[in-house]
Amino acid sequence: MEVLITLIIGVLTACGVYLALRARTFPVVLGLTLLSYAVNLFLFVTGRLTVGLPAVIAENSAGYADPLPQALVLTAIVISFAMTAFIIMLALKARAELGNDHVDGRPDPGAHS
């Protein structure tokens, strides 16, 4: 199971980094979203993998998953949403001010809309 998680995090990171290196704002935002999936997953699994043992106190539970990374990731998910929202608004603002959606605000070379 650990191999699968490892692969998932790796692929999400790679896709995220590649998209973040693109020249237009929208793919960069997608890339950052993928990266935040990867980071959230990574933080979550630092509590190691536990199957079927949620951190809800019960009388006869055999054990619990580590609640600490979960609590951290819960807020991280909400904050990543705020961050994504902020960046996409910046992208909109840049498009309004500069007339194109290049990440460096350069004039659009090929007319594509």
């Binding site: 290196l21 020249a23 199957v51 979960q70 990731v73 949403f81």
Partner: protein, 939 residues
């Protein structure tokens, strides 16, 4: 405690003085005066202590773990300075009220002045070196504000910047010196340090520490070669110059020399460094003072010269010299402040400070002239004025120090020359201004200033005379306790009499007087000589060259690193992370795979994982077709939430699920305004490079995850699991951590969320983006009304969805759920209405002003924390009880629920704020089509 208040009152008063200025010009002055008096009153209970031989030390625990307490100290030296700062401050406040013009903002002036006063008081009353340093930096900052008070003037800005740069750099050096000193002495408390002088002087780090501390002290006191900032600081309003350059800012440097005198002095290094700086400053300052045509310029250089004199005295290092140094600090403060004030009056009445134009003012303002003459006589060291007494002591010390040394004539001759120059420039200040013919082409006709503007000068001049004639009955007790404070022991015998019989010092004083008059009489050839030399040695030009060089270097570094390309910077960032990660992996030498047993793979997990990986890659491949890529990425988020389900994190799964919905809706809304396709811009080579970098980053992340996952670990989770029920009263440990154990973090996080929402709101205001006229395939944009079935259904679903969110909220403490998730569900339910019915329809039925919601959430969250503080517990401690309700059964009431409510409100408010305002932009982006049917308003 009262010493803390002495320091704090001016800081609080600064705000008050600035605030009351809106009620009238004079209110600020009254308030500032009241603040200074209040600080004096706060000081008064401790004033007696130094005279009884006690040192007051007050400690307020602050950061005990770091050994840093708010510690204040009052001994004779601190008392002398505190009295000078407050007393002179009062006079300056009175004087400035008449000096400042109608258009100058009084509130800002007095606010800055009180800030500065508080910082100075902090320096002289600190017991802890670090605390002292903080106030030291505050004086640099507040003096910057004061010097640049006339912000519209270029010279004021330049002068302020120069003062800040020079004294700020000195402060940095001093920080280093203080850290060394503290480490050598084993404590940052002055009491300990002052008692361990021998230990400190014997330490091998003594010399670097001394150099660093002296850099701080000498830059502040404008000693050669750092003197050049002081004349440029004359661009400040004259009351500021009178305050900063008589009793306060520049005296902070000599205060430090005096403060650390018992610890640092008495070594060869001390003598060489301090004496040479002092002597050079004394001579250079006196020389330049004589040739300045600007009235304040003359005073500026004479200030530099007198500071050199004081520094030289401390450099000589004998107890008697230190006593003379303190005495001269007092005398210089009185006569220099009154001279500055007189110069300010002249400037005010004549409209210029050029001594080549101001002549013969005696006819116009004889009274001011008399006051200026007394002060100038004190500066020149004429008998019966206070400057004479300390200057005699100075001459005597110079002779004593040199007696028996091989170049025994050098020091006495040098100080004699400085004395003659002092007489000459004092004479020039009087003769050139008040006599010497008639005024030439003055902008105004001068006359005596308002009555009360002269009062501060009168008081200071009276002090000059009283101290000069009756030293034993006036200054002696204060000087004695200050000397005890400096030396930390009983000072040697000294005599404050005017007449000591005919001795070397008296003869030197007489020679200086006569010589000075002769120098002034023969000034014309000297002036011509000085004019030829002028500009040859220009410390300011050197400073500017250095500054220019530093700025160019910074510019070059920035240009190299910041090419203005985000792609390039992200690439550098990723590569750096890769490099550091590689070093970390290679350096450790530990095996990649740890010893922890892995879990077996089951078919469903394998399937989901494969799906997730494929969808991620698919998103990547599709990324140019933005709409499709976005939908595919939505699936990715859902799959991620399945991972949370699988690995025992129901709360995370719920959060991820609802966030995913909101995110995709948000990105869809935004995509409307953006191009639907990304052009293929990157060359194949570049794409391959990016793929390689991305692959490496992914591999790195995988390796890191793998090595973590296969290693056993020890978590602090047991604490939370054990204390969740008994301590937090909740069974859902994740939620209890969020609202209870780490409630403060959560408060911070919802603040970030609120800020992001407000930031976006601000960004979207007045933003206009044209909407597309056709869709991605070129079809004209469809203006169909919202589908009625969906509209009807979502309206029916709304109460149900809200009920679910309430349920999720209430059970959150014990079962998966809570404020974050419930807030997101509510937001989704409401956004559904917008989507199905249109923004306008929903808008008419629901408030669009979401700020109060966010504010209420933050307030509730903070108030919950404050209530527990009021009850005597740490911030955000939660309490809970079980209530038995009929029919419903046992129900738990926890204060954490209130906090969670705050979280809920902020999440709902911020999420809706973002989406609704983006949605509203759609309406503004295109005019409503004429042929579109009206939106159905009934259902």
């Amino acid at each position: 405690m009262n010493l803390l208040f002495v320091v704090l009152i001016p800081f609080v008063g600064a705000g008050l003085a600035a605030w009351v200025s809106r009620f009238g010009r004079l209110q600020s002055a009254w308030m500032a005066g009241g603040v200074a008096v209040a600080a004096l009153l706060a000081l008064s209970p401790s004033i007696a202590a130094p005279f009884l031989g006690e040192t007051v030390i007050q400690r307020i625990p602050w950061l005990p773990g770091f050994g840093l307490d708010l510690m204040f100290r009052l001994d004779g030296l601190g008392l002398l300075f505190a009295l000078m700062i407050l007393g002179m401050g009062l006079l300056i406040i009175l004087y400035a009220r008449y000096y400042l013009a109608e258009r100058d903002c009084m509130g800002r002036f007095y606010g800055y002045l009180l800030l500065f006063m508080g910082s100075m008081l902090g320096i002289v009353l600190s017991e802890n070196l670090i605390l002292l340093l903080m106030f030291w930096e505050l004086t640099s900052l507040s003096s910057f504000l004061l010097i640049s008070y006339w912000q519209h003037r270029e010279d004021a800005r330049t002068g302020a910047r120069m003062a800040l740069t020079v004294t700020g750099l000195g402060g940095v050096a001093m920080l280093g010196g203080f850290v060394l000193l503290g480490e050598i002495a084993g404590s940052y408390e002055l009491s300990v340090i002052l008692a361990s002088g021998d230990l400190i002087r014997a330490d091998p780090l003594y010399t670097p520490m001394l150099v660093l501390i002296l850099l701080g002290a000498l830059t502040k006191s404008a000693q050669f070669p750092f003197h050049f900032w002081l004349p440029h600081a004359m661009a400040a309003p004259t009351p500021v110059s009178a305050y900063l350059h008589s009793a306060t800012l520049v005296k902070a440097g000599v205060f430090l020399l005096a403060r650390l005198f018992p610890v640092l002095s008495g070594t060869v290094e001390w003598s060489i460094l301090v004496m040479s700086a002092g002597l050079a400053t004394l001579l250079l300052g006196a020389y330049f003072a004589l040739f300045k045509h600007d009235l304040k310029g003359l005073l500026a250089y004479s200030t530099i010269s007198h500071l050199g004199l004081i520094t030289l005295l401390f450099g000589i290092g004998t107890p008697l010299a230190a006593v003379a140094g303190i005495f001269h600090i007092i005398n210089h403060a009185t006569f220099k402040a009154s001279l500055f004030m007189a110069a300010g009056i002249i400037d005010h009445e004549c409209g210029t400070r050029d001594m080549r134009r101001i002549n013969g003012l005696w006819r116009y303002m004889p009274y001011t002239g008399t006051l200026a003459m007394v002060a100038a006589a004190a500066m020149a060291g004429v008998p019966l004025f206070n400057g004479f007494l300390s200057k005699e002591m100075f001459f005597a010390e110079a002779v004593d120090f040199s007696a028996g040394s091989p170049w025994r004539l050098f020091l006495p001759v040098a100080v004699l020359i400085a004395g003659m120059l002092a007489v000459a420039y004092s004479l020039r200040f009087i003769h050139d201004v008040f006599f010497n013919g008639d005024p030439i082409d003055l902008p105004k006709t001068p006359h005596e200033p308002p009555r009360w503007m002269k009062v501060p000068v009168e008081i200071l001049v009276a002090v000059c005379l009283l101290v000069g004639i009756l030293p034993a009955f006036t200054v002696a007790p204060l000087l004695y306790v200050a000397a005890v404070g400096v030396l930390q022991t009983t000072p040697p015998h000294y005599d404050l009499a005017i007449w000591h019989g005919i001795n070397a010092a008296l003869i030197m004083s007489l020679i200086a007087l006569i010589g000075g008059i002769l120098v002034y009489a023969g000034r014309q050839p000297l002036f011509r000589f000085a004019e030829r030399l002028e500009g040859r040695i220009d410390a300011k030009a050197m400073y500017e060259q250095v500054l220019q060089g530093v700025l160019e270097l910074a510019g070059a570094v920035t240009r190299t690193l910041d090419t203005g390309s985000l792609q390039r910077m992200i690439l550098v960032f990723v590569l750096t992370a890769l490099l550091l990660g590689t070093i970390g992996f290679l350096g450790g030498g530990a095996p990649l795979t740890g010893t922890r047993a892995t879990l077996p793979v089951d078919a469903v997990s394998l399937l989901i994982s494969m799906a997730l990986i494929l969808v991620a890659i698919w998103t990547l491949m599709l990324h140019r077709r933005r709409f499709t890529a976005l939908i595919v990425m939505g699936a990715l988020g859902l799959l991620v939430s399945l991972i949370f389900v699988k690995f025992s994190a129901p709360d995370l799964a719920l959060t991820q699920l609802s966030v995913e919905v909101v995110t995709i809706v948000l990105l869809l809304l935004a995509l409307y305004f953006l191009p639907q396709y990304s052009p293929a811009e990157s060359s194949p080579a570049r794409r391959i490079r990016d793929l390689v970098v991305a692959g490496l980053a992914g591999t790195g992340a995988s390796l890191l995850t793998w090595s973590i996952l296969t290693r056993p670990y020890d978590s602090i989770a047991d604490f939370f699991l054990a204390n969740s029920m008994p301590g937090g009263g909740g069974g859902n440990v994740v939620n209890v951590i969020l609202v209870d154990f780490r409630g403060f973090d959560t408060l911070g996080e919802i603040s970030v969320l609120a800020l992001a929402g407000l930031g976006i709101y601000a960004m979207l205001r007045d933003l206009y983006l044209p909407g597309p006229v056709c869709d991605s395939r070129g079809h004209p944009w469809n203006w169909d009304v919202h589908p009625p079935i969906m509209a009807a259904l979502t309206r029916l679903l709304l109460p149900l969805a809200l009920l679910v969110s309430v349920f999720i909220f209430l059970r959150g403490h014990n079962l998966p759920g809570g404020g974050f998730i419930a807030g997101l569900i509510t937001a989704v339910a409401l956004i559904m209405q917008y989507l199905a019915n249109g923004a306008e329809w929903t808008h008419n039925r629901m408030t669009s002003n979401l700020h109060p919601l966010i504010g209420a959430g933050l307030l509730i969250g903070t108030a919950t924390g404050l209530v527990s503080m009021l009850l005597g517990y740490p911030f955000l401690t939660s309490a809970f009880t079980h209530v038995h309700w009929p029919l419903i059964g046992d129900f738990e009431l926890a204060s954490a629920i209130a906090f969670d409510l705050g979280v809920y409100l902020v999440v709902v408010g911020a999420t809706l704020l973002i989406l609704v305002h983006l949605g509203l932009m759609h309406n503004a982006s295109h005019p409503a089509p004429a042929d579109a049917p009206a939106l159905p308003n009934h259902s």
